[in-house]
Subunit: 152 residues, 2 copies
C-alpha cells in the first residue's frame, strides 16, 4: 500500500477530527495523537493504554486529556465502551450510527457491525407485556472470532 494514499485508519482519523471540529472542539496535537492511537488500535484500549499509545506520537500528552477526549468522543457517539464477561475492557471506535460490538475473548479484538432491527420484536413484546417504552439499549456479544476458532 502506497504511503501517500490515505489508508483505512487515516480516513477514520480524518472523520473523527472533522466530527470533533463540527461539534465545536478545537483540533490540537493532543487530540490528534489520541484519535490516531484509537483508530490504529487493534483492540479496545482503556484510558491508560490509550494514553501510552498516544504518547508515542505526542509524548507531552497527559492522561487527563485522554479522559477528556474519550468523554467528548463518547458524547458524539463515535466511540463505545466494550464490556467483556468480567467488566470493561476498553473503548473502541465505532463511528456514527447504531453499532453493536462483538468482542473476541481470545484475541481481544472488537468487531463492529450495524445494529439491524434485531431487537424490535423484543421491544414490542416488552411494550405489550410490561408497557415499558424502550428508548435505548446496550447490546454486546462475546465469543470467538473466526481466526481464534481456527487456532484451536
Amino acid at each position: 500500500m502506497g504511503r501517500w494514499l490515505p489508508n483505512r485508519e487515516g480516513l477514520k482519523m480524518d472523520f473523527l477530527l472533522q466530527e470533533l471540529r463540527r461539534a465545536g472542539y478545537r483540533i490540537t496535537d493532543a487530540r490528534r495523537a489520541i484519535v490516531q492511537a484509537l483508530v490504529n488500535a487493534s483492540r479496545p484500549l482503556n484510558p491508560q493504554e490509550l494514553y501510552e499509545a498516544a504518547r508515542v506520537q505526542h509524548p507531552r500528552v497527559g492522561l487527563v486529556t485522554v479522559y477528556r477526549t474519550l468523554e467528548a468522543l463518547l458524547e458524539l457517539g463515535m466511540v463505545q465502551k466494550v464490556h467483556g464477561e468480567q467488566g470493561c475492557v476498553g473503548y473502541v471506535y465505532t463511528g456514527r450510527g447504531h453499532r453493536h460490538v462483538a468482542w473476541c475473548r481470545a484475541c481481544g479484538r472488537a468487531f463492529i457491525f450495524e445494529g439491524q432491527e434485531d431487537l424490535s420484536s423484543l421491544e414490542q413484546s416488552l411494550e405489550r407485556t410490561l408497557h415499558f417504552r424502550v428508548e435505548g439499549h446496550l447490546l454486546q456479544l462475546t465469543g470467538l472470532c473466526a481466526e481464534c476458532q481456527a487456532r484451536t
Copy 2:
C-alpha cells in the same frame, strides 16, 4: 399481608441463602443482612448503597463484606450489574437463569424478564457473515416504565 407468611422478598432471600450454602458459603449475619437489603431494594443499588441498607439490619457489617458478597452472588449468577446510559447504576437480584434487565431512567427501577431466543437470528447472522461464534451477550434496555409514562 400476615407477617407469618413469607412474602415475595422472603422467598427470594431464602433462595439466595440456599444457593450460597449449596455453593459452599457459610451463612452469616452479614450475608443475611446484605441479601435481605438486596432483595428488598426497589431499584439497583451500588456497593455503598447496599452497605448502608444492610447496616439497618446489621450495623456491624463492613463495606468490604458487601463487595465480597456481591462478588459471590455475581459468580453464582444471582445478581446482575445494571448499566444506565451513563454507566453502572448498581446491582440487582435477577435469580437463576438467563435474565435480561430493562431499567427505567425516571424511577430507577429495574424490570427483570426471561431472555427468550431474541438474539438467535442475530447470532446466526454473525456466525454466517463474520464466522464469529457467540458465547455470551450483554443486553440491557433503558426507557420508561408504564407508571413513569403515565406520570408525564
